[in-house]
Amino acid sequence: MKNDILKMQGVTKVFYTKTAQTVAVENLSLAVKEGEFVAIIGPSGCGKTTLLSLIAKLIEPTTGSILLSSNKKHAVGYMLQQDHLFPWRTVEKNVLLGLEVTKNLNYETKKYASDLLEKYGLGDFKKHLPSQISGGMRQRVALIRTLATNPDLLLLDEPFSALDFQTRLEVCDDVYSIIRRENKTTVLVTHDISEAISVADKIYVLSKRPAKVKKVFQCNLQEYTTPLKRRESEEFGKYFEEIYKCLNGADDEL
């Protein structure tokens, strides 16, 4: 049995504004095991991004605890919706950004980043500017920028939502295979059911805001090696239907 790398217990997050207070996340508990690919799915605006910000410790929970079992200083890698590559930096310099900021830039880490670029087909584009490469490639660069800091836990916030459907499927395959090969524990947040089923081992379905866990699905599609193959599998439709029902069902079925 593998250890939990992340454990959230009874987490609540309240935001205050001039006119109102908003409960974004309420009494939420979840756990992620080492090497697991977890998808968190919920209706738009239900507080998914808040959840990732909490895990990344960008914001503090109002109540509850978030435990991360890692001895690294920068244990969490966070990939945002858009690539946010800096247009004045070359692909290579963009990838090194995280290492520079965390003051981990040395010969070995630089080589690691450079090897990742080579390995995932960007070796010839190191000296290119982001504007000179395609949207799918930019997303790959963004992932490698996150991986370069060698995090124990990878957070993905709808990383494909900015891409058109065709590219989206390709990049999803891409990213999935990179994550699997680098053997990273991953939490993906999305509102796209098919995307969640095509990559995840475990799917948490969240309710409307305030986000609570409605149900947890275990996906047994590991025999299919790529997201695309999973999408074509027989079981895919069954999972889709179940999750769709759960997602759109009344919240009081809890």
């Binding site: 990344a56 960008l58 920068h74 969490v76 890698g77 966070y78 945002l80 919706q81 858009q82 946010h84 800096f86 247009p87 004045w88 950004l97 995280g98 520079e100 900021v101 965390t102 500017l129 504007s131 000179q132 800091t149």
Partner: protein, 267 residues
């Protein structure tokens, strides 16, 4: 670039682009020549009074006289030096103010209204005060040039800094970046186009500061010559200095534009 790869139609397109560019330049030169010609002719034929309106030939004569007396270089140098000094001090100071205000939200919220008021205040109104405070020498003129460019620089840069994409800042924060890292790795580089645009504005601003400063106090410089010329009714001198001023400001603007071109990146 390899022109062999271009199709005939593409080459024709490029040629047309080039022709248009040449035609524009030719027309620009032609306009200047026609303008000078009509001006000269008008004074010769007595349509306008050459004593009041001057003429290209009179300007040329004044220019060569000034040059041979060694006055031209002296005055041009004085004004240019004051302007460059005002330009650099104003830009650096304005930038520092913008950085401080960006850095500390509390400071920004307290001082922004003052900055906005200062920006709308015509700085020339401070002229008499500056003379009393900074004396009647070059210091007063440079102070004027600095005052005119510093506020607009601070405001422009601050707006730029604050408009840095929040999600890019979030990206930096996911790497646990501190404020200095966010500034030097993201906010500042992202604002280089903004900085260059501000530099362009400041060229004009510091010339305004220098010339108005020289109007008020000074014993040399183009502004001094213009005021002196108008007082003794030597309008040839006034016209000549104005034209030299045009050339100098154009030259300075041109160098900033050149700098901009050399650091441009694809956004």
């Amino acid at each position: 670039m390899n022109f062999n790869e271009f199709s005939p139609m593409h080459l024709a397109y490029l040629k047309k682009q080039r022709t248009t560019k040449i035609v524009v330049h030719l027309l620009q030169v032609a306009f200047l020549l026609v303008f000078l010609g009509v001006w000269e002719l008008a004074t010769h034929l007595g349509w306008v009074d050459g004593f009041i309106f001057s003429s290209p030939s009179r300007v040329w004569k004044t220019l060569t006289d000034l040059f041979s007396q060694g006055d031209l270089i002296k005055h041009v140098w004085a004004s240019t030096w004051e302007t460059i000094l005002g330009f650099f001090i104003g830009t650096v100071l304005g930038m520092l103010i913008a950085i401080i205000l960006w850095w500390n939200d509390m400071v920004k919220r307290v001082f922004e209204p003052y900055l906005v008021v200062l920006n709308s205040l015509p700085k020339i109104a401070l002229g008499p005060l500056i003379i009393i405070w900074a004396g009647t020498g070059k210091a007063a003129i440079v102070t004027m040039a600095v005052l005119i460019s510093v506020v607009i620089t601070a405001l422009n840069m601050l707006v730029g800094f604050c408009q840095t994409e929040p999600s890019k800042i979030l990206l930096m924060r996911t790497f646990k970046a501190n404020k200095a890292q966010i500034f030097f790795k993201l906010v500042f580089p992202a604002n280089i186009p903004n900085l260059l645009a501000t530099l362009k504005i400041n060229v004009g601003m510091s010339w305004v500061g220098t010339i108005t400063g020289e109007y008020l106090v000074s014993k040399e410089g183009l502004g001094y010559l213009i005021v002196y010329g108008s007082q003794v009714f030597r309008l040839d001198l006034v016209m000549t200095c104005t034209i030299v001023l045009c050339l100098l400001a154009g030259l300075m603007y041109g160098s900033v534009a050149l700098l901009e071109k050399s650091v441009k990146f694809d956004q």
